[in-house]
Symmetry: D2
Subunit: 351 residues, 4 copies
């Protein structure tokens, strides 16, 4: 590749925006050329506007970049990674798509919209073609693609290989989610230190409906959701990064533990075939130790892009029980969007 593709970041100063910067800074295909944030930040340098909160230093080039207002007026990059909250996204993202940009969004605002693909490249890369039915695309070539909620992401990666081989009918899932999922300042320390909060607004509903769309199939220009039921219990725990989930599963076909573990460990998909730069070698990793996965030890597997599964054992009510972990701000947010951007480029959507 002779020249990198310029990209922009919407919502660049927040928790997910910072992960975008970290992941894109030495990206082989993409180069950050534009950063935008709220009006409060616009006009400042990035270093002035953002409270950098990652344990790798803020790159100097980014520190000195000027933060732009969140509007598509005459900006260069076609590809825009968006890390806005849902309310802001609802207004801002369509303006960018309408102006001809490729909006790769981490927000929940349009995930369930009929013509907007909700994509995990290992799971439903074919949904990307919904783009062609978007009016923005027909008008000026702009479009929108979304990735899932951070707690749906790790789960669906673990479900997908089982759904393909054996069919899934019912899923119980109880999450223990990291504080970084709530952004910054996010969860007050007085609420979570030595504590558990058994509630995350709207999270359970998102997990339930997004899982069905992600595992669904394309029919004409829309998605038929997978015929399965999810019942989710979402909890916040005192963990920095990494969402843990306790899962019980009812399959449509019987499968042995060996078959299930093989389905996970062997799961390789389009991103691996295309060697997309952010794709993990092994999207789902089964850990055999009885007390794994754990956030501290396993969240960075596959550079934070693998789902780590463990404790597969029979369920007294359904067929199987297991635990799944994924890094909520990498695979569950910024990394997921970057991988979506890579998929779009590989499929020729970036022109």
């Amino acid at each position: 590749m002779t020249k990198k593709i310029p990209v922009g970041i919407l919502g660049a100063t927040g928790t997910v925006g910072q992960r975008f910067i970290q992941l894109l800074e030495s990206h082989p295909w993409f180069e950050i050329e534009w950063l935008a944030a709220s009006d409060r930040s616009a006009g400042k340098t990035y270093a002035e506007a953002a409270k950098w909160n990652l344990n790798t230093p803020l790159p100097g080039r980014i520190a000195r970049m000027k933060v732009s207002p969140a509007a598509p007026d005459g900006i260069a990059p076609k590809l825009i990674f968006a890390a806005l909250d849902a309310k802001a996204a609802r207004e801002i993202e369509p303006a960018f798509a309408a102006a001809g940009h490729a909006v790769v969004s981490n927000s929940s605002a349009f995930r369930m919209a009929e013509d907007v693909p909700l994509v995990i490249p290992e799971v439903n890369a074919d949904h990307v073609d919904l783009i062609k039915s978007q009016q923005w695309y027909k008008d000026k070539g702009g479009f929108m693609v979304t990735n899932s909620n951070c707690s749906a992401m790790g789960l669906v990666l673990a479900l997908a290989p089982l759904h393909r081989r054996f069919g899934i009918e019912k899923i119980f899932v109880a999450t223990m989610q990291a504080i970084s999922g709530a952004g910054y300042p996010g969860v007050p320390s007085m609420d979570i230190l030595g504590n558990v909060i058994p509630y995350i607004a709207n999270e359970e509903h998102k997990m339930e409906e997004e899982t069905r769309k992600l595992l669904g199939s394309i029919k004409g220009s829309s998605v038929v959701p997978a015929d399965l039921v999810v019942s989710a219990h979402c909890n916040r725990v005192a963990v920095e990064d990494g969402h843990m989930e306790s899962v019980s599963l009812k399959l449509r076909q019987t499968a042995s533990a060996e078959e299930i573990i093989a389905a996970w460990n062997e799961f390789r998909c389009l991103p691996q075939k295309l060697k997309l730069p952010t794709a993990p070698e092994q999207p789902v990793i089964y850990e055999t130790a009885p007390d794994r996965p754990q956030p501290r030890l396993d969240r960075d597997r596959g550079r934070g892009m693998s789902s780590v599964v463990g404790r597969l054992r029979p369920c007294n009510i359904f067929d199987w029980r297991f635990t799944v972990l994924s890094h909520n701000t990498i695979r569950g947010a910024a990394g997921a969007a970057v991988l979506n951007g890579e998929l779009l480029r590989a499929q020729g959507y970036l022109g």
Copy 2:
């Protein structure tokens, strides 16, 4: 009551042993007269033998008491509260029962034994009469009564009123358990700080079988387990005290949210009628705020003896979802045993 009943504590130096001391120190009926621990501690004063780990000061009288070896040779108190680990309990507790003592045990060693009552006074006080079929009782009047595992306790308190009114068929439960449940030194800080451990040895099996025995019914001289299925997922989180549990429930009869909440809030039982000193006024408390219960805020309700329930909402797969919390070293261990001791006295078993 003119004179207090002398009691002894087996395993007095550990986490649960310390709670026994804290709860019994100003008890209206019982008075600690004898403390025993492992051979390593025997002969020392309690202050020398134990690393006191509670946030109320160690009572001076107890600090100066001599720790005895864990053997029933010629000791005075009939009533012995036992906080031994399962392995030690398997050897030591029967020796005390055989010597004519009333062993009120917190250990798992004999919970599932056919002639040993596993009792939560609010739930199955009638099981206590199994004592009469114990050979120890027939021989010298000694016997053994147990309380449940700390994670089963809060759950079963919340299930009991629903099981009575509507019948329960199936239960999914995912726990987030406090570190004090593992005793001291227990969980290494490097394992749990900023982390979750998705595994507690044998815990899931205990929850499943104890729940069925606790909700079961007496037939002749044995317990017929309740006809229901439990599937448990047990996790350890960075919380000091208080086990949280995410529950999905299938009932045998339909019940509205109002009926369920009423069943919880109205639940009053024998310990409340008998005004047992350790019995909470309200064994199950429903909290209406969407983000409750929480360990830090709610574990001390009813002086740590109430189960606190919240977030009742429909389940996509079963009937209802909710969260339940209880204090694992009070209601889930020492407090449960003290309440059992009170029940035994009220029923005339202490002579």
Copy 3:
């Protein structure tokens, strides 16, 4: 006492305001009759306005009370406990004093004002008489009394008996302060979980100057600060409640360890003599175990009103090193103000 004295609380919904409610709810002398908070809360019931964050239930009577705006218009209670932030205090507190109220403030706004007493009843109860030089007092009988910063409080309680007996010349102190000191929402969990923040705005300066005023002496109608130097290092750590401080001390007269420990343990003052309801029996407690005090185990000593000291040992540079702990929202804030209120009543300032 036939009738309780009505009191009001300014800033009733915050972290310190909630402690006021908790401490005053069953107070033998005072009764809460008026609650005020910001305009956002005014008009609501307290239960609607406040996110109750303590582990004892919000009293029902308080839950139903209407929150008033923070203005002295025609309100009944003379005695007003104030838990405002410094900016709000600077405007609001003088208005109350000018209207004839006795303002007992926890804010830093007027602590260093020449005619405002900064008081710890065990340390400098005689400073209260500065009230008489306040113009508010001369005009309408209103006045203002303040308590110290939460990190100065525990330190000065431990310094006072040594300063009296031996004289203090220099003090190094490095603090490890609890998150509750920053109020709610206060410290974001992403900043403090598994972390230390070596900075608390203005805190070091407050500790340094308040210590000198508190240990100073009245000359005419002003305070001559104590002739000693403090050098403070303030850090925030992941602890809920309880400020820990590592201290090195240079005395003016030599003193043995036994003499110092005796000075601490024997320290009894006016509040103890007057038996003020909130005064701890023993204001300074020396703990002999080598690893004490600790926040979790010792912050509640003397119902959160005692300073707990430990690890007295020689200093290589000054004379002595030790560790001191005190409960930052009880002795360090609301409890301190309530004790000041009690002192004012005992001294006849409440009419």
Copy 4:
């Protein structure tokens, strides 16, 4: 370099032993060929013997290596990195030195021995020549070199450039140390979650005497300790990795803030000149933000080998106050030893 130098690890299964494996696995000069641990582990594979506790996967080659007993009988590598506790080190390390091995030790056992160099390559590389006065060296070419205590390390790195330029007279330091410094299982979670422990056995004494030896100068065949006084207060806090220290400093010559910061940022030494693989580009980094350094954000600077300093400000008693942070198991332990090994090779001591 055509062939890597084989090395062995003593105490390979512990917290520091694991860091050795992590740091050496892709080392350009050294290759692990031998692993030893206690008799309990000997004979097992490393994967069986060790509970791997780092967030990078255990390398497969190491997992399959056999763990040897901790004895020098006929083993190949000359260079042995030792991560033993002091008691074991006192017996085992001399046996290896006597058998002709180069023992690079992290233990405190022989740090203060007259003929054993205590070395931080940036600070006192010239102390290495003490080796030549060791009897082991004269006999069979074996020798011993040690690195400092983890809490002395970061401090001395920050002190060294100031000591060189301005002279240091007195140092107050209060530490807030990470749990990993206590090894595994180490600190029980019940002791540290939401808590501070104001005591680490022997730590203060080690900091005080090691600092003087490290900053001392060689005279003949021994070290004259630096003429300065240290007074240390050591605390344990709920942080995984990274020791924080609050420091007050009295210099012999006056120096401005600019001069001090320049001394830190410009500090480059032998390891940087020699381009030792583990040497950080910048050994001491000054951070200008008022709330830095912080363990979570800054411990990995210079791949965990830099000391990060911040908050330089005048001291009311001495000259200057500041905060220093360093990674306790990398720069403070395994990384320090690896750097010592590299220095030894560069200086021709490995033959």
